[in-house]
C-alpha cells in the first residue's frame, strides 16, 4: 500500500486494479484502458488471477508494449508502458 502511494506521488503512475477478475477479463480491461486513455504512457496493473502471470506478458508482447513484473504472489503486479 505504502509503495503504491509513494509510487503515485513520485511518478504519478496510475494503479489499475483488476482483482477478483478471472480470465478473460484482465486482458479485456487492460485493452479497454489502453483504448480509453491513449495519453497514459505508463501504468500499473494488479491482478490475482494466477493465469494472468503468463497471459499479461504474452498480451503485451503481442501488442508491442513493455511489461515488467513488480510483484509476484497472491496479488500479481505489472508495470505496463508503451
Amino acid at each position: 500500500m505504502l509503495i503504491k502511494i509513494v509510487g503515485f506521488i513520485l511518478n504519478g503512475i496510475e494503479e489499475v486494479k483488476l482483482l477478483d477478475l478471472p480470465c478473460p477479463m484482465p486482458i479485456i480491461r487492460i485493452k479497454k484502458y489502453l483504448v480509453e486513455c491513449p495519453g497514459v504512457r505508463k501504468f500499473n496493473v494488479s491482478v490475482n488471477d494466477q493465469g494472468a502471470l503468463k497471459d499479461i506478458p504474452a498480451f503485451c508482447q503481442q501488442q508491442k508494449l513493455h511489461c515488467c513484473l513488480l510483484e509476484d504472489g497472491e496479488v500479481i503486479r505489472f508495470q505496463i508502458s508503451r
Binding site: L21, P22, I28, I30, K31, F59, Q63
Partner: protein, 177 residues
C-alpha cells in the same frame, strides 16, 4: 520490417464454428472470442444447429445437462469443503441424472460456480464480445428449420449460410466445438 509484421497482425483472424447448445459449451467460445478480439484479431463466430441458442435474447433456454456429457465434472457449489471437492459425476450412478429436475439442478449449480469464480453472466460476456467487434453469424437454414424468427436473436447478428461464412474467413479453417 515492422510494416510487414503490422500487416500480419492486422490480418490475423479467429474463426469459431459453434454447434452445441449447452450453457457450458458457450463459455469457451465467448471467452476465446473476446480475448482474441482484445488482441486485435478479427473474430468471426458462426452459430449453427443447437449452437444458435447461444445468441437468443432469452439466455434462460440454455441449460447444462449432465446426460449429454458423460465426462462432465459436477461439483457442488454449496456445502462443506470436503463435499465441494467431490466430482459427483464419478460418485453418483448415471441413472440419477435422468430424474426430473436434474438438468435444472445442474444448471443452477453451474451458474452458481461461475458466479463464485467471478465469471460474467453469459449475456454480459456476449455483450463484451459485441463491444469488442466480434462478428456473429447465425446459420439461416438452422434458424428456419428450428422455427426461430430473426427478432428472437440479439441485435447485431447476421443471418447467412455456410458459404458466406467461408467467404468471410481465411482459406485455412480451425474448427472448434
Amino acid at each position: 520490417m515492422s510494416e510487414s509484421t503490422d500487416k500480419l497482425t492486422a490480418k490475423s483472424q479467429l474463426n469459431i464454428i459453434h454447434s452445441k447448445g449447452g450453457l457450458d459449451h458457450c463459455y469457451p467460445t465467448f471467452i476465446l472470442a473476446s480475448t482474441a478480439a482484445a488482441m486485435d484479431k478479427e473474430v468471426q463466430l458462426f452459430f449453427t444447429f443447437e449452437g444458435i441458442k447461444a445468441l437468443l435474447k432469452d439466455t434462460q433456454t440454455l441449460k447444462v445437462s449432465p446426460m449429454t456429457n458423460a465426462n462432465m465434472v459436477i461439483k457442488s457449489p454449496v456445502g462443506p469443503k470436503w463435499f465441494k471437492k467431490i466430482d459427483l459425476n464419478q460418485k453418483i450412478p448415471r441413472i440419477f441424472w435422468v430424474l426430473p429436475g436434474m438438468t435444472k439442478l445442474a444448471t443452477w449449480g453451474f451458474k452458481a460456480t461461475m458466479r463464485q469464480h467471478g465469471q460474467l453472466d453469459l449475456a454480459e460476456l456476449r455483450d463484451v464480445c459485441m463491444d469488442l467487434g466480434v462478428k456473429f453469424t447465425v446459420c439461416q437454414m438452422t434458424m428456419e428449420m428450428m422455427g426461430y424468427q430473426p427478432n428472437d436473436f440479439i441485435e447485431g447478428v447476421e443471418f447467412a449460410g455456410a458459404a458466406s461464412y467461408f467467404a468471410m474467413t481465411p482459406p485455412t479453417q480451425s474448427l472448434f466445438v
